[in-house]
Symmetry: C2
DNA sequence: ATGAATCCCTGACTATGGTCAGGTATTCTG
DNA sequence: CAGAATACCTGACCATAGTCAGGGATTCAT
C-alpha cells in the first residue's frame, strides 16, 4: 500500500527534516558552528550556569568548556564565578552577544512568520502542529502545581471559559458562576495543577478547599489537541492525593450535561452522583467521592 | 506573549527534532554511521545508480564513493558497471544488505506504529501530519502528467468520488455519471494531471478530448489539507496549456452548486456560464472558456 | 581538619562528514 | 577521430562533535 499510515508519517518526517535542516543551514550562514549557535541560544534563553547548560544541551563537560571558550574569545559570552559557590561559573551574554542572539531569533522567527503568512489557514496549521507536538511529546508532559493567577494557569482558565461559552446553549459568564477565589486553590486550603507539554499549558484542574473536611474539584479542562491521552484522569488523581495530604475526606464537584466526556469520566472513576449542593446556575450534575486519608505530610 | 504562534511553532520544532534525533540514535544503535545507514536505505528504496544516489542524498562525489566502498567491504552492497554506459555504476543490495535494510525499515516502522497505536485519534493525527507536511513542502509540489489508471491517479479519483458522495444530498454513484473513458484523458486526445507533494498525491484534474476543437475539464479535486494553496488554479492553467497544444479551441465543464469553491473558481478565472450541454444527472452549472491557440507542438 | 565529592577546566584522541584537486575510463560532439 | 565532457574514483586535507583521563579549586561530611 502506498498511502498507508507509515508512508504518510515518513513523508511527514522527510518534510520536517528538510525544514529543520534548512533552519540549521541558515544558522550556519552566520558563520558560527551549530554547537556554538546552540550554546549562544541557550544562554540567551536564560540558561545561567555551566551545569544547566550541559544538562539542557546534553553535552560533555569538555565540549561545553571548549564551546564557551570560543564564544568568550569572540566577545559574545562572559563567565564569572558564582559568589554562592566558587566552583560554579555563571554565564551571561555581552551586549554583542545579545545582538547575535537577537539575530538568531530573527532568523527563526522569519521562517515561522513566512510559513504562517503564506498559509491559507494559519489557525488550522497551528492547531495541527500543536496536535502533532503533543502526540510526540506525550511522555514528557509535566504536572505542575502553580498559583491559579500565574500566566499559564490563566491561559488554561480562559480557554476553559471560552469553551464553556461555546458549549452551553445559554452561553457562559464567569461572574454568574461561583468563581472560587484564587487563595482557596492554593495551599494550605487547596491546590491548582497545570499540565505542561514542553512549555505549552494544555490542561488544568483545581482543588478548592476551606481548611475543612470537604473540598471541591473545579476548573477541569484539557486542550482539544491533548484529549484522549488520559490527562484528566491524571490531574484528578494528583488532586485526590493533594486532598488527602490536606486532610480532606470528601470531594465534591458539579458539572453540566453539555460536557458528556466529563460526566462519563466521573461516573467511571469512583464518583457517585448526589443531590444539587449549590445554587450555581450552570451545573446540572453533582458528584461526590470519599477519599482515603493517605500518609500525607502533616499541616 | 507566551502562547503566540511563534512559541507554538518552536515547540513543534523541538518536539519533532527530538523525535528525529531519537530515530537517528536508534539507527546508530545498529553500529553503522548515519551516512552509511542513509546510503543503505536509499539503495533499498530503489536508488539504482551512483549519480541518483548523490542527487538524492545531496552528497559530494568523493564522500559517496567512500561510503559505498565501506558498505561494499561489509558485504551489504554490490556495484557493477552499467552495460548501457560503462562510465556509470549500478548499485544493488546483497542478500545481507537486504536483511540490514529490512532491519532499518523495521526500526522506523515500529516507532510509527507505536505512535499511532498509543494515540486516541490516529486519523486526526495523520491528517494533522499531512497538513503540516504539505505546508512545509508547498514549494516542492510537482504537477505530473500520468495515465488516469495509475495508482496515484486512482487514489485521487476515489477520494474525489467519496467527497462527492459526502457533499451531494442525493449521494453520488460514478456509474450514473458520464465517466470519461481513460483514453479520452490521455494524449493525443486529452491529458490527466496529478499534483504530487513528496510522493503523496494531493490533487488531480483531467482534460477529456475527442481529437476535435472542443474538450472538457473533468475530475478537478484537491485534498483537504492542500486547499487554499492555489493548486486548482495551477492544474487548470496546466490543462489549458495542454489543450492549446492539442489544438483545442473551446473548453467546457460542468459542476454542482454543492461545490461552491469550484463554482467561484470558474467564475473568477475567465469562464462564462452557459446552458446545460449534457444530461448528466449531477451537475447544475455549466461553463465555457475560449482558449488562445499557443505555439503548441504540432500533433 | 581531613578525605570525599563536586565543578569546571585542559589536553589528547577519535570518528564522521565534508571539500578539493587530480586521475582514469568512457562517451559525446563536430 | 580528436578534443571536450561525463562519471566515478582516490588521496589529502579540514572542521566539528564527541570521548576520556586527569588536574586544580572549592565545598561537603564526618
Amino acid at each position: 500500500m502506498k498511502h498507508d499510515p507509515v508512508a504518510r508519517i515518513r513523508r511527514f518526517n522527510r518534510a520536517v527534516t528538510a525544514e529543520v535542516g534548512a533552519l540549521d543551514d541558515s544558522f550556519l550562514g552566520r558563520g558560527r558552528s551549530l554547537g556554538a549557535a546552540r550554546v549562544l541560544n541557550a544562554i540567551g534563553h536564560g540558561i545561567a550556569d555551566v551545569a544547566a547548560l550541559r544538562a539542557y544541551l546534553n553535552l560533555d563537560s569538555g565540549l561545553t568548556s571548549r564551546l564557551l571558550r570560543g564564544l568568550e574569545s569572540e566577545g559574545l559570552v562572559e563567565t564569572r564565578t558564582d559568589p554562592a559557590d566558587a566552583r560554579r561559573r555563571l554565564l551571561s551574554l555581552t551586549a554583542q552577544g545579545e545582538a547575535e542572539y537577537a539575530a538568531y531569533e530573527q532568523l527563526s522567527d522569519d521562517r515561522v512568520r513566512d510559513l504562517l503568512r503564506r498559509h491559507p489557514k494559519p489557525d488550522a496549521l497551528l492547531a495541527a502542529m500543536d496536535l502533532v507536538a503533543t502526540a510526540l511529546a506525550r511522555d514528557r508532559i509535566e504536572m505542575v502545581e502553580m498559583d491559579p493567577r500565574a500566566a499559564d494557569a490563566v491561559h488554561c482558565l480562559q480557554s476553559y471559559y471560552a469553551e464553556l461559552a461555546r458549549r452551553f446553549s445559554q452561553g457562559f459568564d464567569v461572574s454568574l458562576s461561583r468563581d472560587p477565589e484564587a487563595t482557596a486553590m492554593i495551599r494550605p486550603r487547596g491546590s491548582f495543577i497545570v499540565a505542561v507539554s514542553d512549555g505549552l499549558p494544555i490542561g488544568c484542574a483545581g482543588l478548592k478547599g476551606d481548611g475543612g473536611k470537604v473540598a471541591e474539584i473545579k476548573r477541569m479542562w484539557v486542550a482539544p489537541e491533548a484529549r484522549g491521552l488520559g490527562l484528566a484522569r491524571q490531574m484528578m488523581s494528583r488532586l485526590e492525593a493533594d486532598a488527602a495530604e490536606l486532610g480532606v475526606e470528601v470531594l465534591r464537584l458539579d458539572t453540566n450535561s453539555a460536557l458528556p466526556e466529563a460526566v462519563a469520566l466521573y461516573r467511571n472513576s469512583g464518583w457517585t452522583e448526589i443531590e444539587r449542593f449549590n445554587d450555581d446556575p450552570y451545573p446540572d450534575h453533582f458528584f461526590e467521592k470519599r477519599i482515603d486519608a493517605r500518609d500525607g505530610a502533616p499541616a
